[in-house]
Point group: C2
Chain length 539, copies 2
């Protein structure tokens, strides 16, 4: 998962300015000349830099909690993380900061383009942040830590009952968060807007309905055929070699290890403490080669994005990826469109065969390629193939909405999950471990706004890749040679380096040549899986 999917309670970023609270509270504003605008800008950037650093310190604590912290450290850590987030939030909502923004808005025409973007973005963020009391930030963070630590124990124990009180409180906190942004059209809108500026519950429901309409018959057609044989992925693979291979590929793709590192966690994630320190985590299963490999490359995709943001934006809200959906487009692009493609493995399969000689001696590239692209009705989202993956997301999105709307009680979630899986994917988990306990998202303190970004990411990944290929048709043959420079360069120029200077919509418009649309994604799936399986003709 990208750091951005946890961003709501962690940083003070993103979002359009709807309220005018600041305007009514602001200090008297006089004319701002060039000299004083420079001084005001310097003051603002200094304050933003300290807020950035407090949040970055909080992220270090979160990373440590997930990687190396001994169990005895949990109580103090929850308190310490919450404190840092609260102090950062308190500093961000300082009226003096609002006044600096106001004064700079008045002379925006005299600012550089980047500084004008900064004022626009920080102004939006500020308007949102002042609606959220510092006490709430501390409570939500402390609860998120406590809930996460409970989930780490509850999931392996298949103990959903233990999570009910945590999840009920999470739901309350999510509703409380939404209430700060009333009036809204739908209670999930504030959370969605936080993750994916410009989107709403209604627009996502429309998008998902359109996509579901195409995917369901595709899944049915594929699953009616004999399943691909993926036993070659389920032999025994030494952990160190798995981690080493994944990291090797990630560095070839462009992940810079002088500014990053890989560790193991329960749930893979990417986190950033500054442009020089963007870390990823993965998990390893000895008998499942795909788990660590594709998790590593997924998180590396997030990290490559963050490492590519213009370093000059460090310490300001401009210095990160633009939205959760655009972030997921990069993790999914590198994980799937690149690293599950036939050209990619033309180069890397011989490397993998040398790494795991015994396991792959008698496995052909074609068998391996089919194995890593096996489509099936499976239980675990993170293990799901590209075709069924979005159905997993849609289930979660629907359940989130029902929980938030009050149409589903927390205690009834396991049953609703089972019914939903049966309806959408035709399989039912035997226990909650493989059911509603499987994803960390609801157990780190937020319900709503955390899942839709993955499907948006899938859709955008195909749009961006198609646009890159259109400009640079040589990318495919480069990938087949284990080279990613042209692709990485195009993504950096069109997406990464901009940070948040453009809106998500502007990024998509400029990079993909038009607004978000599912056509390129469906074309990608039809072409790739049409070669692997018989598909129904388009209707």
């Amino acid at each position: 998962m990208a750091q951005s999917s946890k961003r709501r309670f962690k940083t003070c970023t993103i979002q359009p300015r709807k309220a005018t609270a600041r305007k009514t509270k602001q200090h008297a504003v006089g004319a701002v000349n060039k000299q004083s605008s420079n001084a005001i800008l310097a003051d603002l950037k200094y304050r933003l830099s300290e807020i950035y650093d407090l949040n970055a310190a909080g992220s270090v604590l979160t990373w440590d909690e997930a990687t190396y912290m001994p169990t005895g450290g949990a109580v103090a850590r929850a308190r310490q993380s919450a404190l840092l987030r609260r102090v950062a939030h308190e500093r961000f909502i300082d009226p003096v900061l609002g006044s600096l923004i106001d004064r700079l808005e008045q002379c925006a025409n005299r600012l550089s383009a980047d500084d004008a973007s900064l004022i626009r973005v920080v102004g939006r963020d500020y308007e949102k942040a002042i609606k959220v009391p510092p006490d709430y930030v501390a409570r939500a963070n402390a609860h998120g830590s406590a809930s996460y630590n409970a989930w780490i124990r509850a999931r392996p124990a298949n103990d959903f009952a233990a999570m009910i009180p945590f999840l009920e409180k999470t739901l309350d906190l999510s509703r409380e968060y939404a209430s700060f942004f009333e009036p809204y059209e739908h209670i999930a809108d504030p959370m969605i807007d936080e993750a994916d500026e410009g989107l709403t519950t209604a627009s996502i429901q429309h998008l998902f309905a359109e996509l579901r309409h195409e995917l369901v018959p595709m899944v049915r057609a594929i699953c009616d055929q004999p399943p691909a044989d993926d036993t070659c992925l389920h032999r025994s693979f030494a952990e160190a070699a798995q981690l080493g291979f994944g990291l090797l590929v990630a560095t070839h793709m462009g992940y810079d290890l002088e500014r990053g590192r890989l560790d193991k966690t329960h749930h893979p994630f990417c986190t950033k403490f500054g442009p020089g320190d963007v870390r990823i985590t993965t998990r390893v299963r000895e008998n499942d080669l795909g788990d660590a490999l594709f998790s590593t490359l997924h998180e590396a995709g997030h990290a490559i994005y963050e490492q590519g943001v213009n370093a000059a934006f460090e310490g300001t809200p401009l210095g990160s990826g633009v939205s959760a959906g655009v972030h997921e487009s990069q993790s999914r692009l590198w994980e799937n469109i690149v690293a599950r493609s036939r050209p990619f493995w033309k180069h890397y399969y011989p490397v993998l065969q040398r790494t795991f000689a015994d396991q792959f001696r008698s496995v052909t590239l074609d068998i391996f390629y089919r194995a890593i692209n096996k489509v099936g009705r499976s239980l675990i989202r993170t293990d799901a193939d590209e075709v069924t993956y979005n159905l997993h997301i849609m289930l979660r999105f629907d359940l989130e909405l029902k929980l938030l709307e009050g149409r589903l009680r927390v205690k009834d979630l396991p049953e609703a999950w089972r019914a939903g899986m049966q309806a959408v994917l035709g399989v039912t988990p035997l226990d909650d471990r493989d059911g509603c306990l499987q994803d960390v998202h609801w157990y780190v303190g937020s319900i709503g706004g955390g899942f839709q970004s993955y499907t948006i990411g899938n859709i955008l990944s195909a749009q961006f890749f198609a646009a890159a290929i259109k400009t640079h048709p040589e990318i495919s043959s480069e990938i087949a040679g284990g080279r990613f420079d042209t692709l990485h360069g195009w993504l950096t120029d069109n997406i990464y380096r901009h940070g948040r200077t453009l809106t998500p919509q502007e990024i998509v418009d400029r990079a993909a040549g038009g607004p978000m649309t599912i056509a390129p994604y469906l074309a990608y799936l039809r072409k790739k899986y049409g070669e692997l399986y018989r598909l129904p003709s388009r209707h």
Copy 2:
């Protein structure tokens, strides 16, 4: 090294109250009744807890910097660490906090013994802290990080020249720190007082002269004899097995891994983020069994102390070890008096032989025991034996004083080091790597007050151990059986659990039955090394 040796710039703790600045600035103080004293106490503890947590977060950042941070993270990390320390310091010197302390001092007779201690300790700390500007704290911390990162590269490159500008700034910062506490008798006094409350440059010089008078002839007598054979320690030992053996012993001694962990760093240290998270680090050399093992046990000694502090003191200045010297007494007690003793190895040598069967098959316990207690004129302090170790410390202490007094220039340090080593130990390093670049202390941002604690620790370790044995003579036979409960229990009761509720002098008086004295330490050395070597008769 103990966290306490870096405490000066890292936390807001320790020290007697000399000034009356607060009294003159304080708010008007009225009568404080029982009910309001409880409320004031709660307010004070809440504020102290947040300050504690900010410093703990800073320590997490420091730990990460030393263990896992990629090189690209250094610049942002220095800024982020400095910010946390500065914010903690700013909160601690808040006049409101001073006013709360004043009001509670007036009703100290109505407080519990622990709360009365808290008010006494926090009052002392406050009086010292308000002399130090927040800006200084940030500057000193940022410089410490930058200097540490430069040292990591400069030491292996034997590049003292690269460290000169850092060290000159460090010297300036150390002098500036001392200046906040003028008037003083000696410029090193404020730093020494910070580390070892109650001691002064003069008192340590007197102590060291007394000890040197005894040690020099002892070293000469031993080194005139044929050296012990320690080749058995310099075979090849797999890193994982070295770490595993050290950690096994540490846990037997009482280090609780549910509240701690071991990692590798350039320079071993112990750090605490709360009573539930006290971590140690070590370094490993494949061809030197003693390095990782005794470093691990040294740091475990610090950690066992910190884990033993009454957990009720968490979040207040009472919740840590009482002084650097008393802290070192525990690292040196576990490392040397216990883990370099013959009874200890009677139990553990067979375990070690099973761990490294090839290396120790033909090595007897006696040969091994002599190897780990080999006395020699060596270059590296951390590798030095118990007899020569203090001469290394005295050299550093003398050089620190000369630097601070302005009698030695930074650029002349390598030559002064070589001359000092020749005079004190009769050996001269061939390069600065094994000379004045070897210890991290001067390169993390402070000169003065960082070394004397080791020798004080050696002296006290013998006093404490003798007192424990006097009460519980069975301790020796328990150690010979791999059991440490009685010793650990005595140390917990007499030292650990008290945290900072007593002064260092009170701890020594109560636990050792009298003030610090070198007699038990000399008796220990004479007995142990008299059995291993011929020693001159006492004069």
